[in-house]
């Protein structure tokens, strides 16, 4: 699917035949066009659509190829797991080609309120992906807090499995943000080749700082989640132990009077004959006393 955009009144707006073309999950014909007409390297094009590819910058004779990482929109299909995807930005002198595997709103957010040049569009796309990572990190943190509350009372593994999913997501996020970090550093070293204006260079510096902060935040969340995982597993295990203990008290509490009643049910000569008018109440009384002794013993032992 191809959509084209142009910069109008400092905004990116959908325009037929505009210099910004976005190819979403390109089919065979679109790929051939990108390789043959735009002279995009086939391997680099495949990298832009491969979620496992690392971020990188390559210079071709007539364009710069940028593979960057961004979070995948959360769908809940794979449990509580946040995933990353790759995207490709191919910056030519007079146009920019963007290739991505999924249809994600690219030019939204305050970053795109004022745009004037194509290199700026490229920088803002990278900045937008960092912002997207930060948004997801906040959500991951909120989910962690809610899951922690649930785990305090939980006796099933569901919430622990959710936390494992979040832990795994954060490992992917840290790796992707670090990969983007190397990319923006490399863009900075090659700023002269891009011909950035002073404002764009300043924006690139801000992007580098923002990405580093994002990376540190992801690392901190990941470390906290990983280090507390065993403790949380123990809480679930302990909750089950408490439940088993309660069930044991109930079971033994029922067994003790049953024992007393069973003794008086034997087919042998008993101290209280069945003809005695208080026989039933005497047996019941002994059962209650036995239960009371057991409960007192339990209470004294503080089990």
């Amino acid at each position: 699917m191809l959509r084209t955009y142009a910069i109008r009144d400092s905004r990116v707006v959908e325009t037929p035949g505009g210099p910004i073309s976005v190819h979403v999950a390109p089919g065979e014909a679109e790929r051939r066009f990108l390789v043959d007409s735009c002279r995009i390297d086939e391997h680099t094009l495949a990298s832009a659509l491969d979620p496992d590819e690392l971020a990188r910058l390559e210079f071709e004779p007539d364009h710069a190829a940028i593979i960057y990482k961004r979070p995948r929109n959360y769908s809940g299909k794979d449990g509580v797991q946040f995933k990353v995807i790759s995207g490709g930005i191919f910056l030519f002198k007079d146009r920019i080609v963007i290739v991505q595997a999924e249809d994600i709103a690219l030019f939204e957010g305050k970053q795109f309120n004022r745009v004037s040049t194509l290199p700026e569009v490229m920088l803002k796309l990278i900045y937008r992906s960092i912002f997207h990572f930060l948004e997801h990190l906040k959500i991951v943190n909120s989910i962690t807090v809610e899951l922690e509350h649930k785990i305090n009372e939980a006796m099933e593994n569901r919430y622990l499995i959710n936390l494992f999913g979040l832990e795994k997501s954060l490992v992917y996020y840290v790796s992707s943000i670090n990969s983007n970090d190397l990319l923006v550093e490399k863009i900075k070293y090659n700023a002269a080749k891009f011909g950035f204006t002073p404002e764009e260079t300043e924006y690139l510096d801000d992007t580098i700082i923002e990405n580093k902060q994002c990376g540190r935040q992801a690392e901190i969340y990941s470390n906290i989640l990983a280090s507390m995982m065993d403790a949380r597993a123990s809480i679930v295990s302990n909750n089950i132990s408490v439940l088993v203990k309660t069930l044991n008290i109930i079971t033994i509490g029922i067994m003790v009077p049953t024992l007393v009643v069973s003794i008086f049910s034997m087919n042998v000569r008993l101290p209280i004959g069945e003809a005695h008018p208080l026989a039933f109440w005497a047996v019941m009384g002994m059962a209650v006393v036995a239960l009371a002794i057991f409960m007192y013993f339990w209470w004294r032992k503080k089990w």
Binding site: R72, Y74, G76, K138, E146
Partner: protein, 123 residues
């Protein structure tokens, strides 16, 4: 904007949190529910201005939840369904059950916010 209340119902904690953050950042008050029955109780007690619900949920699924909302003559808030189902017939079913709009997961956030705003303005 006067603070409108939106009830978000989804058994997936990630979706609930995403929606909550998105809607709160747009200035709405958000209450959440994990499944249809608790959503119905929340809707009856807190009277939200809108409900955003999933279809595939434990206890009462999305269809039943919408039908229960629609049976209550006092509760006429619009219902938006956000679901992972890909079959167009499912989308038609929820619209027939009384939903005001249908979005597929992963949801287009801008489109959802626009629809929420439109339906709340109409109401």
């Amino acid at each position: 904007m006067s603070e409108k209340t939106i009830l978000v119902v989804d058994d997936d904690i990630g979706i609930r949190m995403m929606m909550q953050k998105l809607l709160e950042s747009a200035g709405y008050r958000v209450i959440t529910g994990e499944e249809g029955q608790s959503a119905l109780e929340a809707a009856l007690s807190q009277r939200p201005d809108m409900v955003i619900t999933d279809i595939d949920m434990p206890v009462n699924d999305g269809y039943k939840t919408i039908q229960m909302f629609r049976r209550d003559s006092e509760f006429q808030a619009p219902v938006i369904v956000v679901s992972g189902v890909v079959d167009i017939r499912d989308a038609q079913l929820v619209l027939d059950a009384g939903a005001s709009a249908f979005f597929q997961k992963p949801v287009d956030q801008a489109a959802l916010l626009s629809k929420v705003s439109e339906l709340l303005t109409e109401g």
